[in-house]
Chain length 474, copies 2
Amino acid sequence: MKNLLEKYKEISTLGEIGGLLGWDTEVNLPPKGAPERGEQQALITGIIVDKWHDLEFQKLIKNLSPKNKYYRPLNHSLKIYTKIPKKILVKDSKLTSKAFVVWHEAKKDNNFKSFAPILEELVILAREEANYLGFKDNIYDALLDLYEPGLTTSFCKNIFDKLTPELTHIIKEITAGNDRTNSLKKVKLPILTIEKQKELNNFILEKMGYDFSAGRVDTAPHPFETTLGPYDIRITNRYNNTFIESLTGAMHEGGHALYEQGVDKKLADTPLAHGISLGIHESQSRFWENIIGRSKEFSEFLSYELKVKPDDLYRELNKVKPSFIRVESDEVTYNLHIAIRFEIEEMLLNGKIKVNDLPSVWNEKMKKYLGITPKSDSEGVLQDVHWSHNSFGYFPTYTLGNLYAAQWRSVMLKEIKNFKSLVKKGDFEPILDWLRKNIHVFGKTYYPDELSVRVSGEVLNPQYFLDYLKEKYL
Amino acid sequence: MKNLLEKYKEISTLGEIGGLLGWDTEVNLPPKGAPERGEQQALITGIIVDKWHDLEFQKLIKNLSPKNKYYRPLNHSLKIYTKIPKKILVKDSKLTSKAFVVWHEAKKDNNFKSFAPILEELVILAREEANYLGFKDNIYDALLDLYEPGLTTSFCKNIFDKLTPELTHIIKEITAGNDRTNSLKKVKLPILTIEKQKELNNFILEKMGYDFSAGRVDTAPHPFETTLGPYDIRITNRYNNTFIESLTGAMHEGGHALYEQGVDKKLADTPLAHGISLGIHESQSRFWENIIGRSKEFSEFLSYELKVKPDDLYRELNKVKPSFIRVESDEVTYNLHIAIRFEIEEMLLNGKIKVNDLPSVWNEKMKKYLGITPKSDSEGVLQDVHWSHNSFGYFPTYTLGNLYAAQWRSVMLKEIKNFKSLVKKGDFEPILDWLRKNIHVFGKTYYPDELSVRVSGEVLNPQYFLDYLKEKYL
């Protein structure tokens, strides 16, 4: 076991080093440094792949009892690194580098046709990889499992089938002005300088319990969280002339960071380190961003700090309106954006639609779910980077995160008696303690389903999310 | 050859990755992240050492003809990585980590006795390593060669024998008030905010020709330059309430950075990439910091920008006075600080003195060369970090840099006709062009001696430096 863990620790440490290369690329890299950085990242990735292919290491994993706590996470990773032949991984790396640039140009020029040929290649590659990885029922399952161990197409389909009609109903009511939040009313909030925004965000992050002596906040084109070591968990943010976007960004990434900072340090550099899945991770970021950050009580707390009217702040934080861009959408419409991507990916992978059908399929589904039609492919089918990265199967985890967050909330309301008044006071310690004790400390010990049952007595159930929305808006 | 260069490129890329880990440690690392960072750095170092021990790689090097341009740099590195047994390298790494902490405490507490036992171990280790590396005449030669290929004790001794009496004489004259700079006269310069200092330094770095699209400037406890790729050459700086220290720091590190930015890009990731030695590197930093930055003409240029009196600025930049701390000393007394360290290291390595003799030997030599006696070991024998790093043999390269810089200047004065008026105008382009063409582009192609002969027709000659000082001060 000592031998196995020592070998794994090297892989884990190399992963952190690769993480630093990635963080630095987003935060610091001088423009001309990009090509060499690419070589540095490829080299580290290559060394990691080689270590997974080390036969002695593989033998140690194969000798593990299925009851061993490391058995499952090690075999999950081993599958990803070894079932797909190296030449396919190399092809993947080259194709996605190229595709990112093509996508970027195509989006800029609103020219789907220029992206279509390489997207076609990416879909073929994704199918090839899924076949190597293996699946029971649906080829798309193999890709979902990469980001959310155990997730299947049919599970997602059930979720969205329950979710979409209800969401459509809620949106109709809000659009008609029948919402409690009165979100259509225009409000004017003060403009904060970037320095003031940073101060505000750091104040909130401190309140949330983010440990600045084991992390830092930097500026980058996109907000993200990255784990560079058990005591080096960094977040980034970006700043506009409204403080709302950087504040919600800080709380979102702060939620990811609290999860990583809260994993039992005894698990550091073992196969159980880090959050278990993208969905559970997103449940943490969305919990802080939406459940806390967009609550009436938080608006009361923050309005006192900001010296604005609580209702104005609450309304600004909760504008609900069908829109084209996923990342700018509100907590009600957001999951319909994901439903569209889920349906499209499933059909693409199974050959039910072709790449060239995408713009029209996209626009039809936008009309169906959100009642609006993008004026261009740039604000439609071309908006997201994920497909250029060959990240098919990634999108559904965003919705899982939203749903899990509401499910945790329902338990918390029972187990933390004065939950709402704590938020109103900005006293988040009991809330963080609850997340730590019930979710964070375990790292990868429990699969998402198992964790959900432990925490809430049942697997993911979209009803909690729907109840939360109805309670809030209707 | 292709195979050899591919293997070398991996080592070079790993070196850049290690460089990023080091840079981030100084600039960004959250306090609690230090232990894991140590593991990350050790892992990269281990992979690099393994690659030098790869028998196939060694065979490719052994098959090179001595006339091949890569023969010399490859064999120089190979010697360092393979002649010293791995267990000694591991011992070195562990002992120096420990010694740094012990030294840091000892300096803080002014307690040489607490540092002495581990320093004793370090001297024994350095001797052991020197014996593995091999030498002709003096055991100290083996260590000098690590930092300055080909440098010997006898060469250094000749230099210092010529330098020290003349420097002592110049200092006496200045101390007596017989200097042209009238450096004893007190002046008062404006205080600049850190933001204003950064603006000023960036303005000067731009003027010097530093490419900000292939580098960046950050704040760190100590100023340094680091090369993270052919187009990613960064510097750091620190800021006090006077702008003098950060300005000279920026010009010093900028000089190092210009050298690295100027190496022929065709040499990138080959054994000829980067500056050839610490001495030649220091000739670049000292050239910009002292020869340019402390010149009358530069004071005229800068005083116009800063709206101060040129004479005040010139005097502030050229205060000459024997003092205890090397890094704060002026360009005249600086080399006497180095002479002391050179003599002590040579005696220590050869067993002519013992570690316990160091405080008294140090103070005697300070009295002899600078006429002053440190009041404590903290501002005496304990002041520098180098010995705790087992960097015996490093110090003399500082003096070589000072001397080479003056030697380059003497050639430049002949070859760039309007040298002084260019500096007065802040037009450094012809000067940088000269450095590029004569020194930078070659990378490690020529050994320091060979480069010196190519550039100036002779090997290092301290007379140029002495003439420069006399012309300036007497």
